[in-house]
């Protein structure tokens, strides 16, 4: 109450708009103009800082990456099979294969169940459970990736090891760490993200379409799969792309389960590596400015170009949805 009285007093003291036009208050008016200029300047500066920071980032990464590329060459970097910084041999085929295969596996294993489950939740489930289901997925999406990585290291890797020995026999040179473990782990990590985005996309399908479908005699399941899902396909595709981008860029969790061997995998259960894993492992030994360090920046540039392309594709899709 005291607070409100104080404000009332202040507003009573404040001159009315008519008075403020009088010349004797010009000091106040100019103060207003200054604060006006300052605020406008501030927000423009903030916008400028964002642009400048991004440009600096791209410029620095691009410069260092291209320095590495010019020494190694794009084709040897992408197609060479031997990655040995100590022998000055930088062939990133194993890194690329690891990244592409584990991300693709994650999308196969994670995105399909996620989309099906979100279709059920948005169209067929009892309404009372929807918000709590969403809350669980929101928290699961925010769980740090190292926590997923640790859980996978402790519980998933022994499972895949048993699976590998079941397939290839007891004495086969296979283990739990490898592409299978990382694809399973990444699949589990992208499910919450894909589900949340797919649920948003399904919620944007107009209710009239569902009503029309029901009026034609379609059941709930038919409406879900012939009206709602096709109506939201663009949004669902965007959700899957986001999952793909997250899986391709994931570092620490994959590093914990993929084994870290710098070679092409023999099968799904032999250790290999990915671009981001190799960056985080090698940066600890590579002196900045050397070829070993620049090569890592070149690989990061490849990763950057790929993920920017994925996001540009989703942007194009979502812009068309908006119009």
């Amino acid at each position: 109450m005291a607070m409100r009285a104080l404000f009332a007093e202040e507003s009573a003291r404040r001159p009315s708009p008519e008075v403020s036009r009088e010349p004797r208050l010009s000091g106040r008016a100019s103060a207003t103009r200054w604060s006006e200029l300052f605020t406008r300047g501030f927000v423009v500066t903030c916008g400028g800082i964002v642009i400048l920071a991004t440009a600096t980032m791209i410029a620095f990464l691009g410069q260092t990456g291209i320095r590495g590329l010019s020494e190694i060459g794009l084709w040897p970097l992408l197609s060479g099979a031997k990655w040995k910084p100590e022998a000055n041999s930088f062939g990133g085929l194993a890194l690329l294969t690891g990244t592409v295969l584990s991300a693709a596996g994650a999308v196969l294993l994670g995105a399909i169940p996620a989309v099906l489950a979100s279709a059920w939740l948005a169209e067929l489930s009892p309404r009372s459970i929807r918000s709590s289901f969403r809350r669980v997925m929101e928290i699961a999406a925010a769980v740090p990736s190292v926590v997923y990585g640790w859980l996978a290291l402790v519980y998933l890797v022994p499972l895949t090891e048993r699976l590998a020995h079941g397939i290839y026999g007891e004495d086969a040179p296979v283990g739990g760490e490898g592409l299978a473990a990382s694809a399973l782990l990444l699949g589990a990590m992208i499910i919450p993200t894909v589900m949340l985005l797919a649920l948003d996309a399904l919620a944007r399908v107009p209710a009239e379409l569902r009503d029309a479908s029901a009026a034609l005699g379609a059941s709930e399941l038919q409406t879900a799969f012939r009206v709602a899902l096709p109506g939201a396909w663009r949004g669902i595709l965007i959700a899957v792309f986001f999952g793909l981008a997250r899986a391709a860029g994931e570092t620490m969790a994959v590093q914990m389960v993929i084994g870290g061997a710098r070679k092409l995998p023999d099968n799904l259960f032999s250790p290999t590596t990915t671009i981001s894993t190799q960056i985080v492992m090698d940066m600890q030994n590579a002196r900045p400015g050397t070829l070993a360090s620049n090569a890592l920046y070149s690989m990061a540039l490849v990763l950057l170009v790929v993920s920017v392309m994925i996001v540009l594709a989703t942007r194009l899709l979502s812009r068309r949805t908006a119009s």
């Binding site: 642009i51 489950a117 740090p144 960056i279």
Partner: protein, 383 residues
């Protein structure tokens, strides 16, 4: 008569529809799939909390011995106060839920303000007096080779990172959002800004780490430092904060701004006194979400803030020292830790992380309820 009866009855029965059984089976299997997914994640979260609780609730009658690191007492008081506050909040929420069940009333019983103040004072007093009696895992230094290491400096660093990076993200992010929502005059700059934010949002976090290492650690010769890590995290969070802030600024009803302009206020005055206060809950929830990302991020921090804890200045406020966060610690313990109890240490660290993430998510959704496009305030104003 019989013909009429069959004709009117047959199509109305749902269960006699062709393929009804297949449909029911399909719907059930979809439900089972969703239940398995949700159940799996719930079980995982519950397991993490339970597995870590042996470390988190390891109370003992003997005080935890001090190691004499500078600032240790203050950090212990802080962590103890937070632990007691969290328990007090959990107990009151639980009690309220139980009371509501018993009395079967629709409205949640609210605590009177003086009771809230009394509880807060009690929590602070408990935190100060019992700061040496919290579980030792939460306050002691980590140990490289022997069992019994704690995560005190990691908790401190994680919270300090949240403050440092928010201090950078808040002005720049909100300023850029205000520019985009209300003061954008040049389409060129607007286009550049959107492209910049899209690019930032699309980069994998490891790329931020490489950039931070190159610019802050090497070129600016800051070394592995909290300063470099906080700058990288601030940059990483910009697209999120600008995006949500812009959305909630745009959701402010035009009528309110028009009313302010009609009273003779300038555009800047309207923005500062009407638009921003109105969109504030949405902006705050964006900031809280960005804090959640600070808690969770590890790859860029490994490359900018290092993986070590210094014995001498573990609790110092100097931003030019290195230091690991909880997430980095969890990775470090598992990849190169040598202590025999690393499974327990990892479990405890993961549990603390989950609690922090849970709290930030809760705070963000509470805040978002007041503002933004679907908030209560908007509904009230446009009723």
């Amino acid at each position: 008569v019989t013909l009429h009866a069959t004709a009117s009855r047959a199509p109305l029965r749902r269960t006699e529809r062709r393929g009804h059984r297949v449909e029911t089976a399909l719907a059930r299997s979809l439900a089972a799939l969703a239940a398995i997914l949700a159940g799996g994640y719930l079980a995982g979260l519950a397991y993490l909390l339970l597995r870590g609780s042996s470390k988190l609730f390891a109370f003992s009658i003997n005080p935890v011995p001090r190691t004499g690191v500078e600032g240790e007492e203050i950090v212990r008081t802080l962590i103890a106060t937070m632990a007691f506050g969290l328990s007090a909040w959990a107990i009151t929420t639980l009690a309220q839920a139980v009371l509501r069940r018993i009395s079967r009333s629709e409205k949640t019983p609210r605590l009177a303000t003086w009771k809230k103040i009394a509880i807060s004072i009690l929590v602070i007093v408990l935190g100060i007096t019992l700061c040496d009696y919290v579980p030792s895992f939460l306050v002691t230094l980590p140990s490289e080779t022997t069992a019994g290491g704690g995560i005190g400096p990691e908790i401190f660093n994680t919270l300090y990172f949240a403050i440092l990076s928010t201090a950078i993200t808040l002005p720049i992010g909100v300023g850029a959002a205000v520019y985009m929502a209300r003061f954008a005059m040049s389409p060129t700059m607007m286009g550049a800004l959107r492209t910049a934010l899209d690019t930032l949002a699309s980069l994998p976090s490891i790329v931020y780490g490489l950039f931070g290492f190159l610019v802050f650690v090497v070129q600016m010769q800051a070394g592995y430092s909290l300063f470099a890590g906080a700058l990288v995290l601030a940059l990483l969070n910009l697209p999120l904060v600008v995006g949500i802030s812009e959305e909630s600024l745009r959701a402010v009803p035009r009528e309110l701004e028009d009313a302010s302009l009609a009273l003779g206020a300038t555009r800047v005055q309207t923005t500062l006194r009407v638009t921003l206060p109105y969109a504030w809950p949405g902006i705050l929830s964006a900031l809280v979400l960005s804090v959640g990302r600070v808690f969770a991020e590890s790859a860029p921090l490994i490359m900018t803030a290092g993986t070590t804890i210094s014995r001498t200045n573990a609790f110092s406020l100097n931003p030019f020292r290195g230091g690991e966060t909880l997430a980095v610690h969890l990775w470090y313990v598992n990849s190169s830790g040598l202590s025999p109890d690393k499974a327990d240490v990892s479990a405890g660290t993961a549990a603390v992380l989950i609690v922090l993430i849970f709290l930030t998510n809760l705070a963000a959704s509470r805040l978002a309820r007041f503002g933004g496009a679907t908030g209560n305030r908007l509904k009230k104003a446009t009723r």
